[in-house]
């Protein structure tokens, strides 16, 4: 009798019930707005500023100025001529010479072939259009009134460029082979490094997960070591090994380590742990039932490998490949140290900005670099979202069988990889301790007298530690609180979705690009946040933002494991959400909170690319000091500083481990049944 026709049920017209917000709702929304604002200020606005910079062109518009020259008595009777006509007559500047950057200045005396600063001739100059600008010394003149100057002052007149918007910078970029060749270089270096790293990492992870080889714990530890050093450290080791005076130079048969070879070897070193971790996770979740099925079907080991193992790990492999690709193509430190004349995109940004002060072109290269990085990132996200589906609660973990022959082969292979990793680090340490390679091999601590070198001395080191600590504390708070708000607040769906998207963005943005974007955004005197430029605060800010995504994902994963109804229960008991957050959420998620903080610390210690544009003489950093000392030819001290970073990070890791264990024992008693 009440099986009603569906047509009867139509939502009646009328206003949708709008919930009254509780105090907690309001607070959580306010919190989310604050963190979203933080991300806007530290990420979206700077990137937008950079993007608009890349489309800004500056050119001296000579036709906007008018000149008049007096006779020898100082009386003006001659013709008024505009700058363009003068240039046509004197042929002082070619057309392309009139293109410039935002800081461009153009002297005017070249327009007057018979100019002499001792001449009694006087000059008049004015902007013929409103808004035109020229400098006399450092005084800006933007009126259209005539300004009369003696010849000695006239030589201090400098024209300022006019800004316009368009694709000119990009056209300029792609018509300069020296620049766009870097795209090709960057791409093939990255592809090659990816292929090598992923292959090695796969077999290494395979050996650790699927064989009964010995010393697995040791190999796992060694595989993680490259995470603790700046990416440019392997470059320094390679210089000692294969450089012009290298120990093993002969092994290269005359080829030079400075260039693609060095970059690829170094990239394999510093991307190896990333690839290993991802692939290892993929191999660890295998289901032994599939292998039992394969065995019962009498499949050969080879066939099982290709039909069970590889398909099971394929998402891990693809994900690892894109992560490695992204790391290599966006890395700046390594190609800077060992790239020689081989240009890649990330170094181009540095050269354009630091070397040539051409910020607009730096922005253009940044935009070019972001494209493959975002592409790689997007594919990685897509693949990782599929990885999860492979896990089922009914899977039976795979137990490897002893096979002496295979285990021995794997042991040999892993030893070789471990030798490579330890070797690179050992060479750096050795280089740091000898007096003067290769002439005086006696040991000394001279190279640790950083105060005598470029780069800021020991203060850089302590600055780095301070910066890393701040990043860990501030970053963890922001990231975890932000993730909590996104995960656990009610309603406000669109806002939360946008927040999630912004939180994903930093991973796709190379550090160099972020750093450059910060210059554009924060170095603008009109920006109220300008005062933080050149301080520790901006370094912490850029580091937190640069490493936001991984931290955010860790926090979200931990929060997702919390019962969804905790907030409902707390609300029904009329308790503030903040109480729940501090009494339950944070304590339960403490292991993840600690993981996030050590991740931020280690990365803040090693990062070069994000901070290289932003440090000031007072806030020099250890990782940047490595770069600068290497640049100045002090390679041994650079190695010494690099190893200091390594030991600091290793110590931090150990401390983190001990602290985690201690805190877990105290606060996580409830985990024990």
């Amino acid at each position: 009798m009440s099986t009603l026709t569906p047509g009867k049920h139509v939502l009646p017209a009328g206003p949708t019930v709008k919930g009254k917000l509780s105090r907690d709702d309001i607070m959580m929304r306010a919190g989310m707005v604050i963190i979203a604002l933080y991300l806007l200020v530290t990420l979206a606005f700077p990137l937008y500023t950079m993007l608009s910079k890349s489309f800004s062109t500056y050119r001296f518009e000579l036709s906007q100025y008018e000149f008049q020259v007096s006779d020898e008595t100082g009386a003006f009777g001659g013709a008024i001529i505009d700058g363009a006509a003068l240039n046509l007559r004197s042929a002082a500047y070619g057309d392309s010479e009139l293109n410039t950057g935002s800081d461009g200045r153009l002297g005017v005396t070249k327009l007057f072939p018979d100019f002499s600063f001792r001449s009694p001739v006087r000059y008049q100059v004015r902007n013929s259009v409103a808004g035109g600008r020229f400098l006399v010394g450092s005084t800006l003149n933007d009126s259209i009134d005539w300004l009369e100057l003696d010849s000695n002052t006239f030589r201090r007149v400098q024209l300022r460029p006019v800004k316009s918007t368009g694709f000119d910078n990009f056209i300029n970029y792609f018509s300069t082979p020296a620049l766009f060749n870097s795209i090709k270089n960057s791409l093939w270096i990255s592809v090659l490094s990816t292929l090598i790293t992923v292959s090695i990492a796969f077999w290494f992870a395979y050996a650790l997960n699927r064989s009964c080889m010995r010393y697995k714990g040791f190999f796992r530890l060694v595989a993680m070591a490259p995470l603790l050093v700046p990416s440019l450290l392997p470059g320094i080791a390679l210089v000692y090994l294969f450089g012009n005076q290298g120990m093993l130079k002969e092994l290269l048969f005359g080829a030079s380590i400075y260039g693609p070879i060095g970059i690829v070897i170094g990239s394999v070193f510093f991307t190896f742990p990333h690839a290993f971790l991802i692939i290892s996770t993929a191999l660890a979740i295998s289901d032994s039932r599939l292998y039992e099925a394969a065995t019962s079907l009498r499949a050969t080991r080879w066939r099982t490998f290709w039909t069970v193992t590889i398909p099971g790990a394929r998402y891990g492999l693809i994900s690892a490949a894109f992560v490695v690709f992204n790391l290599v193509i966006t890395d700046f430190g390594l190609p800077k140290v060992i790239g020689g004349q081989f240009n890649v995109l990330a170094v181009d940004i540095y050269k354009q900005v630091i070397g040539q002060q051409n910020f607009e072109m730096g922005a253009v290269v940044s935009v070019v670099l972001v494209v493959p990085a975002i592409f790689a990132f997007a594919i990685d996200r897509l693949v990782q979202s599929k990885q999860v589906a492979l896990l089922t609660s009914r899977s039976v973990p795979f137990q490897p069988q002893v096979d002496l022959k295979f285990d021995r082969i794997f042991l040999a292979f892993c030893s070789l990889i471990a030798l490579f990793i330890i070797g690179i680090l050992a060479v750096c340490q050795y280089a740091a301790l000898i007096k003067f390679w290769p002439y005086d091999l006696s040991l000394s601590l001279n190279n640790y007298q950083f105060d005598k070198m470029d780069g800021g001395g020991w203060r850089s080191y302590f600055n780095s530690i301070r910066m890393a600590l701040f990043t860990a504390v501030v970053g963890t708070s922001i990231v975890f609180f932000g993730a909590y708000l996104v995960e656990k607040s009610n309603g406000f769906r669109t806002g939360r979705a946008i927040f999630q998207m912004i939180a994903m963005l930093p991973m796709a943005i190379p550090g160099m690009v972020l750093g450059l974007a910060y210059i554009f955004f924060f170095n603008n005197p009109a920006n109220p946040l300008n005062p933080i430029y050149g301080t520790m605060a901006i370094l912490v800010m850029v580091s937190v933002t640069h490493f936001y995504t991984v931290s955010h994902l860790t926090a979200v994963t931990a929060l997702k494991q919390m019962d969804r109804e905790f907030e409902s229960v707390s609300a029904s008991l009329k308790q503030p959400t903040l109480k729940l957050f501090s009494r339950v959420t944070v304590p339960v998620c403490l292991p993840s909170v600690l993981d996030i903080s050590i991740y931020l610390f280690v990365n803040a210690m090693t990062t070069v690319s994000a901070v290289v544009f932003l440090y000031s003489p007072k806030t020099t950093l250890a990782s940047v000091a490595v770069l600068n000392m290497d640049d100045a030819g002090d390679i041994a001290p650079a190695a010494a500083m690099g190893m200091m970073i390594f030991y600091t990070n290793a110590a931090a890791r150990i401390l983190h481990l001990l602290a985690s264990k201690g805190i877990l024992r105290r606060t996580q008693a409830w985990r024990a049944r």
């Binding site: 049920h9 409902s568 008991l573 985990r671």
Partner: protein, 386 residues
């Protein structure tokens, strides 16, 4: 007493305690709609619940029962319609400004807090001093029968114990309304039956108005004062457990609750139900002659007779069947009876072990069964199949 929008109900006397129709309901839900995009999860739900009542929302998964509970709690606001609690319009209030305690299927106990701290969670910042809180926690632990467990962590308790703690936490602040969202579904069968009884006892003792969501009919039948049967976002029937079981309002309820034989039939001119050339008397239906209906009877209402049994006074609904299959289910036998009139699925009847022995029934024999006219029901045929 009962307002249902989804059709008039059969007038059946209530056999549970009467709630005074004159008194205002404690919880009053009026014309509630919930839309998720284009999907309507709740369609024009209206329902009154009186103070001290234990009401179950029962229905298959996806019927909207949990959505309705969450709307009452303010956890997911309805799209249209109003909720009045204790005479107060709470339609758009956030959960923290409503008066209820809630227990979830997952218990949602805070894993890092001891049992005591879990229960005390809602008592803090409520004007009670420490010793009052301690006393109240002890009282609650006593009430749920776990007085010794206060210092343990939730993970150290069994599922049933955890659920009792969740219950204690929910009633700690003496809320006017207790909401239970499938509280027993995560437990194993034995514990479930035991806890069913305990929750009901506790509710009776405290007199707290309680709404429980469940998909388990046994749970609903054994615990509720009234059951709200829901399907696809509408209320199919509201009534006491016996009403719902004995007099289902429609075929959905008949089919969802308990077992029900269904036989295609039509209403003859004399009001009897025509199945093939055989007609059966049915006391209680008001379908017009010629209507296509479904005749229905519960397996336990089928009465077994010896073969060749001569129908006596009031025993006219007899029919000969083949005893095709017998399943022993402990206290009774489930028998599959064949007669071409009943279609391929035949008729299912539950005969007591006694009856089987007395009549010496064996598989493969023919026998006579009676479908008592007071137990035979008629329902409108669902359009989709009709």
């Amino acid at each position: 007493m009962i307002q249902s929008t989804s059709g008039q109900l059969k007038s059946i006397p209530t056999d549970t305690r009467e709630t005074d129709p004159a008194s205002a309901p404690y919880l009053s839900i009026a014309n509630l709609w919930k839309a998720f995009g284009a999907f309507l999860a709740l369609k024009d739900i209206s329902l009154d619940i009186h103070e001290g009542e234990f009401v179950c929302f029962l229905g298959p998964s996806g019927c909207g029962k949990t959505t309705l509970l969450r709307a009452i709690a303010g956890l997911d606001l309805q799209t249209r319609g109003s909720v009045l609690q204790g005479g107060l319009d709470v339609s758009n209030l956030p959960p923290s400004e409503r008066d209820f305690g809630i227990v979830f299927q997952s218990y949602a106990l805070f894993p890092n807090l001891t049992i005591e701290k879990n229960i005390a969670f809602g008592l803090e910042n409520s004007g009670r001093n420490k010793s009052e809180i301690v006393a109240r926690v002890a009282e609650l632990l006593e009430l749920v029968g776990l007085p010794e467990q206060g210092r343990k962590y939730p993970a150290q308790l069994s599922g049933g114990q955890q659920q009792r703690i969740a219950l204690a936490r929910a009633i700690a602040t003496k809320p006017g309304l207790l909401l239970l969202d499938e509280p027993l579904s995560a437990l194993d069968a034995k514990v479930r039956v035991h806890l069913r009884h305990e929750i009901k006892e506790l509710q009776r003792k405290l007199g707290v108005t309680t709404v429980m969501v469940t998909h388990d009919q046994e749970e609903a039948l054994s615990m509720a004062d009234r059951i709200v049967v829901m399907n696809e976002g509408v209320i199919e029937q509201i009534g006491s457990p016996t009403e719902i079981y004995r007099a289902p309002a429609n075929l959905f309820v008949a089919d969802f609750i308990g077992e029900m034989n269904q036989i295609a039939a039509s209403v003859a001119a004399d009001g009897r139900l025509q199945v093939g050339e055989k007609s059966f008397a049915c006391l209680d239906h008001n379908f017009a002659a010629g209507t296509a209906v479904v005749a229905a009877i519960r397996p336990e209402d089928v009465i077994p007779h010896q073969t060749g049994h001569v129908a006596g006074e009031g025993e006219e609904n007899c029919i000969d069947v083949l005893l095709d299959e017998m399943e022993f289910l402990g206290s009774f036998w489930r028998c599959h009876l064949r007669n071409e009139r009943f279609g391929v699925s035949g008729l299912i009847a539950d005969f007591s072990v006694n009856a089987i022995r007395r009549l010496a029934l064996e598989r493969g024999q023919t026998m006579t069964v009676e479908l008592p006219d007071s137990r035979l029901m008629a329902f409108a045929r669902p359009e989709a199949q009709g």
